[in-house]
């Protein structure tokens, strides 16, 4: 059995205001295995940040249970919070203190040596600017400082909510590499991001939620499914098509150029073409990317939710 670093069961959060009740998270079952980078995806307002805030003890769950490292939270949060580094939404520090002062206060509150601040500042590339006031930082620098704060604890679980927000391309690449390295080193990273290409590049597994509910969860490969479609490029598409038809396959023109073939056995394509003396120049598995999968899934969920609401209103 895989150890779960994060586990929620029937997690629910309601907000009450003058207009009534709003359900942000409804019965969410989340399971994040130890190690690797786990994507946490969902449209705006789907309940990602609320879930993270409940896990970290910043918000109280209305019902349901949560576990971090197998310990129930928020009850046992003080036991495990030392192993959890987190950036929730935008970075929040004292604007009149320098970046270094902000980090020193956090490090000292957990008894970490001041030297760890230097190491964290160096890791995120803020050396030389750590003596400046936080309010003078750009959004990217604020984001780096927030990531530096998570490193003060030497965490076993990193929860990052849009960590590359505001970073320049080089910064995004650096952070992506840091996340990947951390994931490979045994640290579990829960990465909440809107940049789905980034998630697909970095994450080994992912959970997708919509309207506070779980829509899909698993390894990225499992979510996207194995590919059965291939794009085939040959010098003479007409001859190639005829060879494939002769082998019992059904090629169709691919909008991106060349031919598109559905088959469980891609070797059948190369055999058929080689048998006809045609040498292919490209054989590419066509798999839906995470963005397409995500958009299809959340669109379907929105449709279902709208239908539910319409039926509910009609009653």
């Amino acid at each position: 059995m895989t150890d779960l670093v994060i586990e929620t069961s029937g997690l629910r959060k309601e907000f009450r205001n003058r207009k009534g009740r709003r359900v942000a998270v409804q019965g969410l079952d989340l399971a994040v295995p130890a190690g690797g980078v786990h994507g946490f995806l969902g449209p705006n307002g789907s309940g990602k940040t609320t879930t993270i805030r409940m896990l970290l003890g910043l918000a109280r769950a209305t019902s349901g249970s949560m576990r971090l490292f197998g310990r129930p939270v928020p009850e046992a949060l003080p036991e495990v919070i030392g192993r959890v580094g987190a950036v929730v939404e935008s970075p929040k520090f004292s604007p009149n203190f320098t970046g270094r002062q902000n980090l020193l206060l956090l490090a000292r509150s957990i008894g970490a040596p001041d030297g760890r601040v230097d190491a964290a500042v160096q890791t995120v590339g803020l050396t030389g600017r750590d003596g400046d006031r936080y309010k003078s930082y750009s959004l990217g620098m604020k984001q780096r400082l927030a990531i530096a704060a998570t490193l003060l604890k030497d965490p076993r679980l990193l929860i990052l909510d849009e960590p590359t927000n505001g970073l320049d391309p080089a910064g995004i690449r650096e952070i992506r590499e840091t996340i990947r390295t951390l994931g490979e080193s045994g640290v579990t990273v829960l990465l909440s991001s809107h940049i789905l290409a980034e998630v697909q590049q970095v994450c080994t597994s992912a959970t997708i939620i919509g309207n506070g509910r779980l829509l899909a969860s698993g390894t990225v490969d499992d979510l996207l499914g194995s590919s059965t479609a291939y794009r085939v490029a040959v010098p003479d598409p007409v001859a190639g098509s005829a060879a494939l038809v002769a082998a019992g396959l059904t090629p169709v023109p691919d909008p991106a150029g060349g031919l598109r073939v559905e088959t469980e056995d891609p070797a059948a394509v190369t055999r058929a073409l080689a048998g006809a003396g045609i040498w292919l120049t490209e054989l590419t598995p066509l798999r839906p990317d995470l963005e397409t999968f995500f958009l299809q899934l959340t669109a379907a969920d929105n449709l279902a939710t709208s239908a539910d609401a319409t039926i509910g209103a009609g009653r």
Partner: protein
């Protein structure tokens, strides 16, 4: 808990707004004490000579002489009895400028300072400024949103509340105690140098006055902190406190509660180790007093003054402080943090 206390102390030390308020808490009492020392100073020989010269010149003025003659002619008009033996001297004392008119002063008295003077004013100033310091210190954590970041490192909210509250209270007490003690020691030293009453008992009384005031100011700082933790905004806290300071007295008067419910007398009761406040007495008491010279028993229905003890004052403010602190701590433990 010790690392947390150190962290909060450092955070307080790095807050410029807090430093500014603490500086004002030193400067204002300093101005008050300097003013008290200067206004209670006897005139120097030089000043006396100047006053005597000025008075002599003034007496020679024609209008003064005319007044003098007028008084001698019609003493009744000047309130002088015509039957006095030396009418001219009596009129001169009434009409001519006197040296005492320009050289009189209230000698410095530590007892008067405690009972009627600036002692309570200093306590009030310290209370307001330190309460504001407690408010602004924690209000910054809420305004910047850094409270949530702090909770990601120390999730035990009770500890966070206690560490911040303790640091605010202790800092406020130390500042108030140092300022108050310096205030009274300086006045005592000046009184001693002027050969005015300055016994050890008086010094101890005044230092105790200062310490009680410092404790009160520290409690106010804790209350400011607790209310800001509750309202999560410096502006909201100041608004509520302002509304209370304006409305509470009026409300108490409208409801018809006695003066013992008013904030002012209770503050004085704490600082002065007991005080007296005044009450309306029934109509029949006036008739009773007019009809004879009957002595009014203390604290009776017809006595228009009432005693308010230190214990009563401390209970009044203690209940308010405890109530706001408990409400604040419970709210902080239970509510979501943005």
């Amino acid at each position: 808990m010790i690392p947390l206390l150190r962290v909060e102390l450092t955070r307080l030390r790095w807050r410029r707004a807090v430093w500014l308020l603490l500086a004002v808490a030193v400067v204002v009492p300093t101005i008050i004490v300097i003013s008290a020392i200067l206004t209670s100073r006897p005139p120097s020989a030089e000043e006396l000579t100047r006053i005597e010269q000025m008075v002599a010149e003034e007496r020679e003025q024609p209008h003064v002489q005319q007044e003098l003659e007028s008084c001698v002619d019609d003493p009744d008009m000047y309130g002088v009895s015509p039957g006095v033996t030396d009418l001219e001297a009596e009129c001169a004392s009434m009409v001519e400028p006197q040296v005492e008119w320009y050289s009189s002063y209230e000698p410095l008295s530590l007892r008067d300072q405690m009972d009627f003077g600036e002692g309570v004013a200093v306590v009030t100033v310290l209370t307001l400024l330190l309460m504001l310091a407690g408010t602004t210190f924690i209000g910054h954590d809420w305004n910047s949103g850094s409270m949530s970041n702090q909770l990601l490192f120390e999730s035990r909210r009770g500890r966070i509340w206690a560490a911040k509250g303790l640091v605010v209270t202790l800092t406020a007490f130390v500042v108030a105690a140092v300022v108050s003690s310096a205030y009274w020691l300086l006045l005592w030293a000046v009184a001693r140098s002027r050969d005015l009453p300055s016994g050890t008992g008086l010094l101890v009384d005044s230092l105790q006055f200062g310490l009680r005031g410092a404790l009160f100011a520290a409690g106010a700082a804790l209350a400011g902190f607790a209310l800001t933790m509750l309202f999560r905004s410096t502006v909201a806290t100041i608004g509520v406190l302002f509304a209370l300071s304006v409305g509470a007295g009026v409300l108490i008067a409208v409801i018809g509660l006695s003066g013992s419910w008013q904030p002012g007398p209770n503050l004085e009761a704490i600082a002065k180790n007991g005080t007296t406040y005044w009450v309306e007495i029934p109509e029949h008491c006036y008739r009773q007093m007019e009809s004879g010279n009957e002595e009014v028993p203390p604290n009776s229905e017809c006595d228009d003054s009432r005693d308010l003890s230190l214990t009563q004052g401390a209970t009044y403010y203690g209940v308010l402080l405890l109530g706001s602190s408990v409400l604040s701590a419970v709210s902080f433990r239970r509510r979501d943090v943005p």
